[in-house]
Symmetry: C2
Subunit: 224 residues, 2 copies
């Protein structure tokens, strides 16, 4: 590997790390806002999403420049392709965080309802999956990445349990609770997709390290 | 361009075309099933999703082989990167079609409720967007691709209108309507994401043709 290629790859890693740290912060902030119906901080999360979009576009442009300039092969090529795909998924996590923040803003204008049981547990698990997927990427650790793909089942289970519970509460014939309960359901669904994106990232890390495409080899299926 | 590279790129195009035709069929079938509460055909859509997953993995492997083998540059490189990303989005459309089919199966076991007004209109528009995005890809037509990115606003608007209407119906205190109305809401949401995926594909076509990353330059934002 030439010195220039090495330098460009390190620069790309560091951009990706910076982006994901920012996205992790966005997700944590959005989850806190929805729990506390904090519209002010939720609006900050929503506004910051533009900045993340710009970081994503720049990162992809940089990756494409490296491909065009150095024509890397083998593990360097795999790293760049993985970075392009992970960049996309990290940005989608930021979109999902912004969507959760939008639910917080809407909830702040509605009749207060209790947050669903187990929401904090689900939020904690999804955040951990994001963190582990990124750690696996940085350390090029396929073992940790495989652990992330297994953890998704727990989040799916919590998602189904919370959704069922919210639907039951909607049947109580309290019409002014329908809107806020729907917003909660939406937030939970976005959180479930955050966990899915972490699995995507983990799968790309496994591909990068081992050269294997592992998508679709585990049982999955969106719970809706 | 060498003869071998040309042949491999043509092979990749033809695989991608075959995959997207299959996914279009899946989407049409899923939409018909949810309208008619047809569990039998919906189960066929759900089962066919595994085959699509395998096609996606094979296509990505083939694209990576071409990159490693020929180290293409300029527009060939852009085409392959676009194909890798579009392949991903097409597979996600298939997942969304399978999710809509799952809602059809669930609805078939529940108290019948009228499909939401404007659902067929929204379905028609989303299907047209998928078709146009793929046509733009095949013809390398950036003008058509740009049209697709503009059409998403109509689908978003229909999505919001239908969701609002469904929430109103949930407030009627008919507890046995809550579950089927929720399934309809889920189907509509998945359909809205089909349109989003078409926009992603169109943006990658624009990048491929013009070399520009156009993501995030239009107003967007998930309606929840």
């Amino acid at each position: 590997m030439t010195k220039h290629l090495l330098r460009d790859l390190e620069q790309l890693s560091s951009e990706l790390l910076q982006l994901t740290r920012k996205v992790e912060d966005q997700l944590s902030a959005a989850l806190a806002c929805v729990m506390t119906r904090d519209a002010e901080n939720a609006n900050k999360v929503i506004q910051t999403d533009d900045e993340i979009d710009r970081m994503e576009v720049k990162l992809e442009e940089d990756a494409l420049k490296i491909l065009a300039l150095h024509q890397p092969v083998a593990s360097d090529l795999r790293f760049i392709i993985a970075a392009i795909k992970i960049n996309n998924d990290v940005e989608r996590i930021a979109d999902l965080a912004a969507n959760i923040a939008k639910r917080a803003v809407e909830l702040s204008h509605m009749a207060p309802v209790a947050p669903p049981d187990s929401f904090e547990e689900m939020a904690e698990k999804a955040r951990l999956m994001v963190r582990q997927a990124i750690t696996a990427l940085i350390r090029r650790d396929a073992v940790l990445a495989k652990q992330v793909t297994r953890e998704d089942d727990t989040v799916d289970q919590l998602n189904r349990q919370i959704a069922r519970h919210l639907r039951e509460r909607m049947k109580d014939c309290a019409p002014d609770h329908i809107d806020p309960l729907m917003r909660w359901l939406s937030a939970v669904r976005h959180l479930e997709r955050v966990a899915d994106m972490s699995v995507n990232i983990a799968e790309d890390v496994i591909y990068m390290v081992e050269g294997d495409i592992v998508r679709h080899t585990r049982s999955s299926g969106s719970p809706g």
